[in-house]
Amino acid sequence: MKRSHLIAIAVIAIAIGVLISASQDMTTYANFAQAAEKGDRVKMVGQLVKDRPVEYDPVKDPNYLSFYLRDDAGEVRQVILRAGKPQDFERSEQIVLTGQMRGDVFEASDMLLKCPSKYKDEEVYVRSEKQ
């Protein structure tokens, strides 16, 4: 057998091995019910529930943020993130979390905010300087 064939086989073998091992790093998108069922780390997409309290008091602890999230099934649960509160948190229209359920609370390890595109939702700003 030619060496190039050996290399090709080795490459394919390694590729399959890597793919199998890399698939361990994958997770699926889930809602609260599915996350509770799985018990494992999942990705979750939802919206901030604006009429429930957002708890962040840096005087007490600058690394503790708690809020309520509505998942795509409509269920509302408390979410805890041990990090500072991002500046534009309240403006977010969608939140993507990674984390897992602990009891009734979803403990997130990271959070990505989708804020309304600055130029789509904004209205024409009326100049007030001209009097």
Binding site: M26, T28, K60, R82, K85, Q87, E90, L112, K114, E123
Partner: protein, 937 residues
């Protein structure tokens, strides 16, 4: 309706030129295509000439489009959506460039601009490769041109024009007014983009993207003309140049993220970063295959494949960032513009073209019959190329999960989709091994020779230098382990590979390459790669949050023990806070335009907690939007040392500082209680006592900007906690501004959660005081003394240099101050200087007072004949002397910041390593280019 004040001409010209540019590109592509098809026939010259002409017209038209758009932005023509959305009257001129390429259209134009520049160089220099290369380049320009056409074909809109009018893109009642333009102003540029990185990073990155087209076009030309060796030589400097510039563009992105954004790092494995890194990796793989092909004739097929792949990956990256598909997995992408289908067509055409060409020519691409020797450089270089391919495939695969999810959802709508649990950990885990293999291979392959036929003879030299490299790498690994917290064997492997690359290549550089500049490029690049790996290791493993104070935070939160979670620390104003290795103090904040800058002092402490004497002040800032209603950006501030950086940014602020609505509610919820006090009095509240020391007409307050005509009053007080002797200064004030009204500025005493303010009642008392006074006149000559209510009042002298808080000199004034010295019954003295003033033949006087005793003085008259002055004196009753004020004792603190501070050791190794790598590539490109020129000459 006839709108007033619109400038429609630049838009019409711009639009016309966009169409012209598109048509000219199409004509250039067709002409060049036919020039290739009719080559060696009599028609060739004609088609070539037409192609050139069309390409030049395309270039000029595109420059015209850029000029029109720039004109619109510079002149702030808000009738255009592009200007309205991206600039504003107060935007400094230098950010016009940032605004220009912030949106899709502008960045397409930038990309196109570089293609034209490169195309013109090729037009002049590419010789017999001109026609096929420019045919490909022009075809790409056709696709890019179509993205900004904005033409409707039936219902379908082809491209998004940069010249759309605001009133066409938006439905708002304001456009029913003919003078709507005088009512609107631009949105301005996102403050995050208002920095010089946004001016230099996109042009560099787009030059990098654009330059990948040149090796691609050469590769297509080689396949098309069936000349598989001829293109290798002219394409090589272009490929090297492209790798250097694209690398520089990516590096600038990392540097921007690090120094100006609050990412807390230079690389985040963000999809946008990944999709620009992957083409760079495949380009570098292509260069190595190319070098093998040039030197040995092997790997021509691979060189083709990698260059074709690189450009298609650039297009794929364009698709990912511009189609909106990354949506929830990337923090930064362009605004979606409905170009998805066009972008897919763009990728599709060039991907299919590449595959078809490769398939058609698969038989005719030459390759040596004999296999390469296992002791040859080309063999190990090719293994390295495969490792790079692995890297590219892994990154692309993981980054493409959102695309894959969308694809599956087309067929299975209920598919929930997969995502990476932790992208950063995932990429680091796999790319680490790429680093290990590439590091080792660069060292080994550098010391092997192309087409080795005499392995036995070379074995000794090779063995000797490998021993040097092994020994050097072992020693350096051990040395580095002294300062690096290496704890996993994988990290040792990477560290060793990095050091191996550094030593072996440095050795090569010293032994050979210094004589031969051509080789210096590659050895330098490889040394740089090793240094970069070391930098990645040191910043990655030893990145340390110093903004934590586990003692002060302990027990506040259940289950919170791990230091890693304590990344933020709360700093109260003026209260030194011990954090790891330092003491941090939030000193002050200042506001300029929309930026609020904080000064935070760091004082280094040694292991015993003593100060080492080293201290510095950092200035992180936050930017508010134009209405000051929210914080839109938090910008870091970094202290640079040679061996490490200290990176800080404000991660949070009191809610009252972020949200004016909340601040109002909070203000309303504070319970103020009314008190009255005269100067010298002490006020006892429930938990505190305050001493009213003085009263001033020239008060100072952080929020007060004096203006001419203001009438201002302020108190000087000290506040104490009951049983405490440490006083906190408090200076509430109020001022009357003509035509605007009265404003009160409270004093916040943060540590006591106290707030003191003056009210309208205070103002009334201060203003009305005079009316209730019973003045008595004293007639005094200079030096004389009179008695008044037990006080001795002496007229010390008259002074014509008048200084009085309410006196602003005018020409023609005659002003004299009477300097009085007042001695109280107990022997203490005070001074006052009322002023007598004649202005416009009217006599006026400006009073002065000794607030602590309630004494008021006016200088009413001068009798020149007797040199006697008339001074009016009055003593206010206790009732009048008492100033009403309000005190709250439940005021929430808002004088703090939440700070994140990170130490990045070895960050300079990252920059040094990357720059060496890119410098090496650039050097090689330069050498190959000039060498070619010399050969041609």
């Amino acid at each position: 309706m006839q709108y007033i004040g619109e400038h429609l001409l630049p838009g019409q010209i711009g639009h016309l030129l966009t169409v012209l540019s598109f048509v000219a590109a199409l004509l250039a592509a067709v002409s060049y295509f036919l020039a290739v098809r009719r080559r060696a026939s009599s028609e060739e010259a004609g088609w070539l000439l037409l192609g050139r002409g069309a390409f030049v017209v395309h270039g000029l038209a595109t420059l015209g489009v850029i000029g029109s758009l720039f004109l619109i932005l510079v002149n702030k023509y808000y009738e255009y959506q592009y200007a309205w959305a991206n600039v504003s009257d107060d935007l400094p001129f230098q950010y016009t460039f940032s605004a220009f390429w912030k949106e899709q259209q502008g960045s397409f134009l930038l990309w196109s601009f570089w293609h034209i520049v490169l195309g013109l160089i090729l037009l002049l220099r590419a010789g017999r490769w001109e026609a096929p290369v420019l045919a490909v380049l022009s075809l790409v320009e056709v696709f890019i041109g179509s993205m900004i056409l904005g033409l409707y074909i039936g219902e379908y809109r082809l491209g998004a024009s940069a010249f759309d009018l605001l009133r066409h893109t938006m439905d708002a009642p304001i456009f029913e007014r003919a003078d709507y333009l005088s009512q609107i102003t631009g949105n301005g540029l996102n403050p995050l983009l208002q920095n010089y990185w946004m001016t230099i990073h996109p042009p560099t990155l787009f030059l990098g993207f654009a330059s990948t087209l040149v090796p691609f076009a050469y590769a297509v030309a080689g396949l098309w003309m069936d000349e598989h060796r001829g293109w290798l030589k002219p394409a090589l400097p272009w490929a090297l140049f492209s790798a250097a510039i694209l690398g520089l563009g990516i590096l600038m992105g990392g540097a921007w993220a690090y120094v100006a954004l609050s990412f807390g790092g230079y690389w985040a494995w963000d999809p946008v970063e990944n999709t620009s890194l992957v083409p760079w990796i495949t380009l570098v793989a292509g260069i190595h295959a190319h070098l093998i092909a040039r030197n040995t004739g092997y790997s021509i097929r691979s060189a083709y494949a990698f260059y074709l792949m690189t450009f298609v990956l650039v297009l794929y990256s364009t698709y990912l960032t511009r189609s909106g598909i990354l949506g929830d997995s990337s923090a930064h992408a362009f605004t979606e513009m409905g170009l998805g289908a066009q972008l897919i067509a763009f990728i599709g055409v060039f991907a299919v073209l590449s595959i078809v060409l490769m398939a058609m020519r698969s038989k005719s691409i030459p390759a040596p019959q004999q296999e390469e020797s296992i002791a040859s450089r080309e063999f190990w270089m090719f293994i390295g190329v495969l490792v790079l391919l692995f890297s590219a495939v892994l990154i692309t695969g993981a980054t493409s999960l959102p695309v894959w999810n969308k694809l599956v959802q087309l067929f299975k709508p209920d598919y929930v989709g997969a995502a990476l649990k932790d992208p950063v950990a995932h990429h680091n885990r796999y790319q680490l091994w790429i680093g290990v293999f590439v590091g080792l291979l660069t060292g080994v392959a550098q010391w092997l020779r192309y087409q080795e036929r005499n392995a036995a003879l070379w074995r000794r030299t090779f063995g000797k230098h490998m021993l040097i490299a092994l020994a050097g790498a072992t020693a350096l690994t051990a040395l580095n382990a002294l300062w690096l917290d290496v704890f996993a064997w994988q990290h040792f492997a990477l560290l060793f590979a990095a050091m191996f690359a550094v030593v072996a290549n440095a050795d090569y550089l010293i032994s050979f390459a210094r004589k031969n500049l051509k080789q210096a490029g590659s050895a330098l690049s490889h040394v740089g790669f090793g240094v970069l790996l070391l930098g990645i290791l040191s910043t990655g493993l030893n990145k340390r949050w110093i903004s934590s104070n586990s003692f002060a935070m302990e027990g506040l939160i259940e289950g919170m023990g791990s230091d890693e979670l304590n990344k933020n620390v709360l700093l109260l104003k003026d209260a030194p806070m011990p954090i790891r290795d330092y003491e941090a103090t939030y000193l002050k904040d200042t506001i300029e335009r929309q930026t609020r800058t904080f000064a935070v002092r760091f004082r280094k402490r040694d292991a015993q907690g003593n100060f080492t004497g080293e201290e510095f002040v950092l200035h992180p800032n936050v930017m508010y939007d134009r209405q000051f209603s929210q914080v839109v950006a938090s910008n870091p501030s970094t202290k640079h040392y040679l061996t490490y950086d200290i990176f800080t940014h404000v991660s949070s602020l009191p809610k009252a500082e972020l949200d004016p609505e909340f601040a109002r509610q909070q203000e309303d919820s504070i319970r103020f209680e009314a008190y009255e006090a005269a100067i010298g009095d002490t006020i006892f509240t429930k938990k505190h006592y305050l001493v009213l020391d003085d009263y001033t007409k020239a008060p100072q307050h952080p929020d007060y900007r004096p203006e001419k005509g203001d009438l201002a009053f302020g108190l000087k007080m000290r506040a104490f906690a009951l049983g405490d002797t440490v006083g906190h200064a408090a200076a509430p004030m109020l001022y009357l501004r003509p035509k605007q009204g009265a404003f009160t500025l409270p004093a916040q005493i943060g540590p006591l959660q106290m707030r003191v303010r003056l009210t309208e009642a205070s103002l009334a008392r201060l203003l009305d005081a005079d009316e209730s006074l019973q003045y008595r006149s004293l007639r005094l000559k200079e030096g004389e003394t009179a008695d008044f209510e037990g006080y001795r009042i002496q007229l010390v002298r008259l002074n014509r240099n008048v200084e009085h808080p309410h006196y602003a000199p005018e020409s023609g004034d005659i002003a004299v101050a009477a300097e009085l010295r007042i001695t109280a019954p107990n022997g203490t003295t005070a001074e006052a200087a009322p002023v007598f003033l004649i202005r416009d033949n009217r006599s006026l006087n400006l009073k002065d007072e000794v607030a602590k005793w309630g004494l008021h003085f006016r200088f009413e008259n001068i009798d020149p004949s007797t040199a006697t002055m008339t001074i009016l004196a009055a003593k206010a009753s206790d009732q009048v002397r008492r100033i009403p004020l309000e005190i709250a004792e439940n005021a929430p603190r808002s004088d703090y910041i939440v700070l994140e501070a990170i130490v990045f050791p070895g960050i300079n190794l990252v920059w040094l390593g990357s720059l060496l790598m890119l410098f090496g590539l650039g050097l090689s490109a330069w050498n190959r280019w000039t060498q070619r020129r010399r050969l041609e000459a």
